[in-house]
Symmetry: C2
Amino acid sequence: MKQSLTFIPTLREAPKEAEIASHKLLLRAGFIKQIAAGVYTYLPLGLRVLRKIESIIREELEAIGCSELLMPAMQPAELWKESGRWDDYGQTMMRMKDRHDRDFALGPTHEEVITYVIRDYLNSYKKMPLALYQIQTKFRDELRPRFGLMRGREFVMKDAYSFHTNEESLDEWYQNFKQAYINIFDRCKLEFRMVDADNGDMGGSESTEFMVLNKIGEDTIVYSDSSDFASNIEVHNLEEGAKSPDGNGTIKHAKGIEVGHVFKLGAKYSEKMNAMFINENQKRHPVLMGCYGIGVSRVMMAIIEQYNDENGIVWPKELAPFDVHLICIDPRKDEQSQAAEKLYNEFMKNKIDVLYDDRRERPGVKFSDADLIGIPVRITVGRGIKDGKVEVKYRNRDEVIEVDIDEVKNNL
Amino acid sequence: MKQSLTFIPTLREAPKEAEIASHKLLLRAGFIKQIAAGVYTYLPLGLRVLRKIESIIREELEAIGCSELLMPAMQPAELWKESGRWDDYGQTMMRMKDRHDRDFALGPTHEEVITYVIRDYLNSYKKMPLALYQIQTKFRDELRPRFGLMRGREFVMKDAYSFHTNEESLDEWYQNFKQAYINIFDRCKLEFRMVDADNGDMGGSESTEFMVLNKIGEDTIVYSDSSDFASNIEVHNLEEGAKSPDGNGTIKHAKGIEVGHVFKLGAKYSEKMNAMFINENQKRHPVLMGCYGIGVSRVMMAIIEQYNDENGIVWPKELAPFDVHLICIDPRKDEQSQAAEKLYNEFMKNKIDVLYDDRRERPGVKFSDADLIGIPVRITVGRGIKDGKVEVKYRNRDEVIEVDIDEVKNNL
């Protein structure tokens, strides 16, 4: 993509409202733009990263046999009245009326809709297990939206739901999803920990949160310094120094960003909403359910919190908006612009995603924008092109190396 | 994808509310499910087709230098008050208040938001032309939602916006977009016609609609039987028999489904919302704009209107939810299930998208579901497998051919 033709509005200073590194950098590097409190536009660079995270999620969920669908944001109040949550959900649920004065929620989550979608179909044990997911826009009227995409009012979430005839099957898929989540967050290069969690308003019998360890996290994790024991402090209120409940080691505290949460819902929604199936013995039973969420836009921020330096973002390869940032120092010089253009076309032909800075800007502006944006490899076509040389710099290293233009593909 | 593990709730009869072929078939073949009037869930098959249409759109728009972004559905009333459309838009705009009693629109379109997004940045002639697009969910509270996805209240739209310093540049990009639209609708295998259209509420100086010719269309097109002249009857109210205004041929009438609409907006929004740039002579001018829409979910219905028979949908290859429908007649017979499984894995390895009917259902059910769903190639593993034979049938032909299982890849 040519930088002169796209929209990357970098800023020297972050707007005042941004308090944490990831929020400042997303705004300064031109990845997002605020439209209202907790409501953002994903600009071209931000959207590219979002799509990369979404692809990783899709691959890992399809690998365990999960199928994608897409449910609407507009949800009739009747469904929420069936589950009892129309009254319980409170002010966090955005509500509206249509022109016929009918009540709708703007979906903060989709347990009610998915139960409605499957309940006519899942009438027999033969049709389970079944697991469905979507990557979709959610609405929650947070009292204090903050930290950019971390706690937004309109945000992208992956939510999945599984359906079972018995506890063993629910548990098997619950474990499958946990493993898929481990794969997803590993591929997103996040330092995370699985912790015991509270089911809260969702109901059900068991839940696990996936927490990225970071000082800006809003949750407190209590964990053992010498075993796998880890829990949200809401579940095990243990003090630092205390012994770990599993007998191994002592308790430490850490802050965590919740990026994923899986729940065994059991029969809570299916009983209230009459999602019943006939089992092998011709008896009616409520379908057992699990639900599994990932805050997709929040994952993007957690990655940046972990990968940045004083000059900008330092994207891990798999998440970067582009593979290569190609810079032409002076596009008015034919030898430079022709060589850069040639490299650009070669990269495109070889399916290497390249952002090509063909702008008539000072080199200093181009380099500081490149550092801010954080693409892993920067290739600069400048004066050295007279001798057939270009400069290669990796965003996560200091040194600049000079290579023959024909050798550059070996340095990606 | 294994059919036993996914969610394709086919129906023998279409629900009563479905009046037209595409709506009946989308419901019967398990592509969509209604949640409320004009509000649908895209089930796995429907979503796969939607994604194929979206990919075609992305490829053609990126080819002309358009960058993707993603704007929110929640739009603060203040922006719509700047343009004057908060009062003008009427009941079709869905509105809500947040917990602080602030007014929001659920975006029926995004001229206001995009103008806000770019107006600080596009302060110089050097930064134009610029073209941005999104594929996003729109909300319109239609008085009479009908025909399924044809006139929905929550629907997927591609909207693009271009920004220019002068009329020549706007016209050049307007033509680029028209050509991209021709490519898109050609690749969607639609019989369409470009017609002169009314700018209506959008304002501006020129607009063209892309109409799929079909008797269920809500618009009337007047066209010449022997030239390119074609217009929405709202622009040229001409009777059949009348002479064509360009002097060539006589006027015919036809019904059309509007799948795309391009507008030259000019300075309408930039003047009202203060999107100004400094030109080469240091003078301030309003940015000139074009806007370009495609009803993505509506395109899906238009395709089905054109490609169906008495047994179901007949997908063109590029739009089909899968490339191949693999049917195992009796999965309890080892020789059949092993051969089918082997083919399934080979297809997957070769990136051929395959829906594998491994269900324990009667052959008649499997064949009628396959016809209903409409995947272009059906491969059946049945008794013939004893002699190493499988059956191949193309959805758009009658004959069934028997081929060696090792030769099957040559018949796709």
